[in-house]
């Protein structure tokens, strides 16, 4: 029971990170119907920006950790958002009216570019960071097995919840959110009624990248080590999560993230750690067989 509870906590923390990345996928898919393959690498770039910003602040002599983390968070969100904007501008916007596979190929190309840019600029070695957020609570102790809830896990879940709420409000309550939903339904009609479609799409990428940067920072703090390749695996998992929950649906992305995180953690804990990815992917295939549009996705209406 204690072991189970511990894994549950770990799984929720991991799932929150996946959920944050998955939102970027699901939003972009919802609005322009493409798999933004480079999003996982935007997450990786975000993690690197966070790492460098943190080290820079430390070397400038800022020792108050909470303040430093807040500044790092803002810097990472801003700069990663610029990356997201640039990627959209260079690789996707020129192909907006092109056929469906074209932006997918440029997205894969962008993913290769980002990975190798970071590798060239920062080196291929893994980048370790000493634990920044330490400590935690022992929830209870059962026969010598203590269930821990660490501060970083609390930080992850709280940050995710806050961001999700803010995000939900942006989508449902603001003009931007309304424009986004309009573009999602019918881009031509939206542009006819005065929505600046290009700007809305750009902002979608900016928001997605900012959330990915938060995920990158949390990942960095949680695992304490990053390299240029983390974006690929995390990206696939997060995309799986988005599809799992029903692509295009925001609550679905979060739910999918949590489920993927939990499957992965429990599979590692009870079966074998090597096959955790196989478990997550197989689960995806099984779910899709029974719910072809994901758990919370809208059923696609076939039209002639």
């Amino acid at each position: 029971m204690a072991y189970f509870l511990q894994q549950l906590i770990n799984g929720i923390a991991l799932g929150s990170i996946y959920g944050l990345i998955a939102i970027g996928y699901t939003m972009v898919y919802g609005i322009i119907g493409m798999i933004n393959f480079a999003h996982g690498d935007i997450f990786m770039v975000g993690a690197f920006i966070a790492l460098i910003a943190f080290l820079a602040l430390m070397s400038l002599g800022l020792t108050m950790i909470p303040l430093a983390l807040l500044i790092v968070l803002i810097i990472a969100m801003l700069l990663t958002a610029v990356w997201g904007w640039t990627v959209e501008r260079i690789a996707y916007r020129p192909l907006r009216e092109s056929f469906r596979l074209a932006p997918l190929i440029t997205a894969i190309g962008m993913s290769i570019v980002l990975q190798n840019f970071i590798q060239v600029a920062q080196g291929a070695r893994v980048k370790p960071l000493q634990p920044v957020v330490t400590g935690g609570y022992v929830l209870f102790d059962q026969n010598g097995f203590a269930v821990n809830l660490s501060n970083i896990q609390i930080l992850i879940v709280v940050t995710t919840l806050v961001l999700m709420t803010v995000f939900w409000l942006i989508i449902t309550r603001t003009a931007l959110g309304r424009a986004q939903r309009a573009c999602e339904q019918d881009r031509l009609m939206a542009s006819l009624s005065g929505v600046n479609v290009d700007r809305t799409i750009s902002l979608t990428f900016v928001l997605g990248a900012a959330l990915a940067a938060v995920a990158g920072l949390l990942y960095l703090l949680y695992y304490g080590v990053i390299d240029f390749y983390i974006g690929f695996v995390a990206g696939i998992k997060a995309f799986t999560a988005a599809v799992f929950g029903g692509i295009g649906s925001l609550p679905g992305a979060m739910l999918g993230g949590l489920i993927i995180g939990l499957i992965e953690t429990f599979w590692s804990a009870y079966f074998s750690i090597e096959y955790k990815d196989v478990a997550a992917f197989s689960m995806l295939a099984i779910v899709l067989i029974f719910f072809p549009t994901g758990l919370l996705g809208r059923p696609e209406v076939e039209k002639v």
Partner: protein, 515 residues
């Protein structure tokens, strides 16, 4: 093109503002990632500032953007126009000829001065410009004198003849005249390119014809490779027996994967195939008892020529049987012809299938699934055959890969391989067989060539390691080609079914799959 009526001053002003904005954005992008480098030290990571590098990067973006705006994008007369006209049939204006002439003159002078001074960088850049213009000039001249030749056909036949004759001719030329050609390297590279051509043609069945997006094609490649490798090392079977088995095994896996995912549409299918590719790789990596895990399988035998092995000595060998002197190149040339035959088989089978009911059903499925179903086409069977046949070609290519390398490990079957193959298919122009071949030559050949370019080193200094930048350039090329020609290198194709005369149509008329 510029708006009519804007003066040069106005354009200069807007270009300057644009360059400034680009500079600000470039600074935001690169400030932390290029401007500071993380360095390992005793106390953990420390930072090392690199202001010059940052300044250079931002400067390149600003100046590049300014020049492009002034002379290409916003210019009244884009400077690239005459060069583009070299490759079309448009008539030249007087200033086109002026621009081309000046460029040729300047590059020739740079080339000569570079040769005298022994500067490889000048030679490389000027030589490239001259070669590019030379090719365009020859092309224009031929087109001018013979405007109505069937160029596509000549190109195809010439390409095939070259592919068939190239190894034999170069081998005998080398033997006769001792030219010092790097034959071994050339053959290895051609074999690699042909492997990718075959993979591209195989994937083309799934993506180009049936319109099913497959992001895990490399899984079938891996299945084929491991089937042959394991059969050969455990049971001592030869390449030719295993080849059909490997193809069948891959096709079987195609069907096994196909069954559950056929209900899925578009991107759901894409992610499941991607997941499948990863699952296969992870299983190969961790199922150590069978696959030997990350250490891979080694000692895979080479194919024999009707039972005659290519070996320096030991009984009936190829060289002993034909009374030739043993040369390791013989085995490589044989491998070249094996993959050439395999690739052409893939092509011919695909071309034939396109004329059969099943091939027409694939293309119909790509265009409109509902119409297909209302016409009584069994979509499940149709999709399954496309998957299985595509997978089979992947498996055949895989077992060839295994026999050529003699060693395989899961590392050869990562997602990036799937991405490269898919990129070849899409960049070549979906469904165009010739385009796939050209794309494979450009991407794989160019990519490999970067590994060996000393000239680049002379441009960027001694510390420049081309291998490090290979993938970066590959990615940039992928994005660049796609943005430049969204419909692929070959932008037209011949319809599979015609009324009386085959006329190429624009690819814009062909829908991609939404299945």
């Amino acid at each position: 093109m510029a708006e009519p009526g804007t003066s040069f001053g106005q354009r200069l002003q807007s270009a300057l503002v644009d360059a400034l904005l680009a500079g600000i954005i470039a600074f935001a992008l690169f400030s932390l990632l290029l401007g500071l480098k993380t360095v390992d030290s005793v106390t953990g990571l420390t930072l090392e500032p690199r202001p010059q590098l940052l300044a250079v990067a931002v400067g390149i973006v600003m100046v590049g953007r300014l020049l492009l705006n002034l002379f290409v994008w916003q210019a009244e007369y884009p400077i690239t126009l005459p060069f583009a006209r070299l490759f079309t049939r448009e008539t030249f204006e007087r200033r086109d000829i002026l621009v081309l002439g000046i460029t040729a003159f300047v590059s020739a002078i740079v080339f000569i001065v570079g040769s005298i001074l022994g500067n490889a960088a000048c030679q490389l850049v000027a030589g490239f410009v001259l070669a590019f213009m030379g090719v365009g000039f020859i092309r224009r001249t031929i087109v001018f004198f013979f405007p109505n030749l069937p160029y596509a056909r000549i190109f195809t036949v010439g390409g095939i003849a070259f592919a068939v004759l190239f190894p034999i001719c170069s081998y005998f030329l080398e033997k006769a005249f001792h030219l010092g050609l790097p034959l071994r390297y050339l053959f290895d590279l051609s074999i690699l390119v042909l492997t990718y051509i075959m993979l591209g043609w195989g994937l083309n069945v799934v993506v180009g014809l049936a319109g099913l997006l497959d992001l895990g094609y490399v899984a079938f490649y891996a299945v084929g490779a491991y089937t042959f490798a394991l059969l050969a090392t455990h049971f001592g079977l030869g390449f030719w027996i295993c080849l059909p088995i490997a193809g069948a095994a891959a096709a079987l896996w195609g069907i096994i994967l196909g069954f559950p995912v056929l209900r899925l549409r578009g991107d759901y299918l894409a992610i499941v195939t991607l997941a499948f590719g990863e699952i296969v790789r992870i299983v190969l990596l961790n199922w150590t008892d069978v696959t030997n895990g990350p250490n891979g399988v080694s000692g895979i035998p080479k194919p024999t020529f009707f039972g005659l092995p290519f070996a320096p000595s030991g009984g009936e060998t190829f060289s002993a049987f034909f009374g030739l002197k043993y040369d390791p190149l013989q085995g490589i040339i044989f491998l070249y012809y094996v993959i050439l035959v395999l690739a052409f088989t893939t092509n011919l089978v695909t071309l034939k299938l396109r004329r059969l009911p099943i091939g027409r059903a694939w293309e119909a499925l790509r265009e409109d699934q509902i119409a297909c179903r209302s016409l009584g086409i069994n979509t499940t069977i149709t999709k399954l055959t496309a998957f299985a046949i595509g997978a089979m070609f992947g498996g055949l290519a895989g077992s060839f890969f295994a026999t050529r390398q003699g060693f395989i490990s899961p590392e050869s079957f990562t997602f990036i391989e799937s991405a490269i193959i898919l990129a070849i298919v899409v960049l070549g122009g979906m469904g165009s067989q010739l385009g796939v071949a050209i794309a494979a030559i450009v991407m794989v050949g160019g990519f490999e060539a970067l590994r060996h370019t000393e000239g680049l080193q002379s441009i960027f200094g001694e510390g420049f390691d081309p291998a490090l930048y290979r993938m970066l350039l590959f990615g940039i090329a992928m994005v660049g080609i796609m943005v430049w020609r969204p419909r692929g290198i070959i932008g037209s194709r011949t319809p599979s079914i015609v009324l009386d005369e085959a006329r190429p149509i624009s690819v814009d008329l062909v829908k991609e799959g939404r299945a």
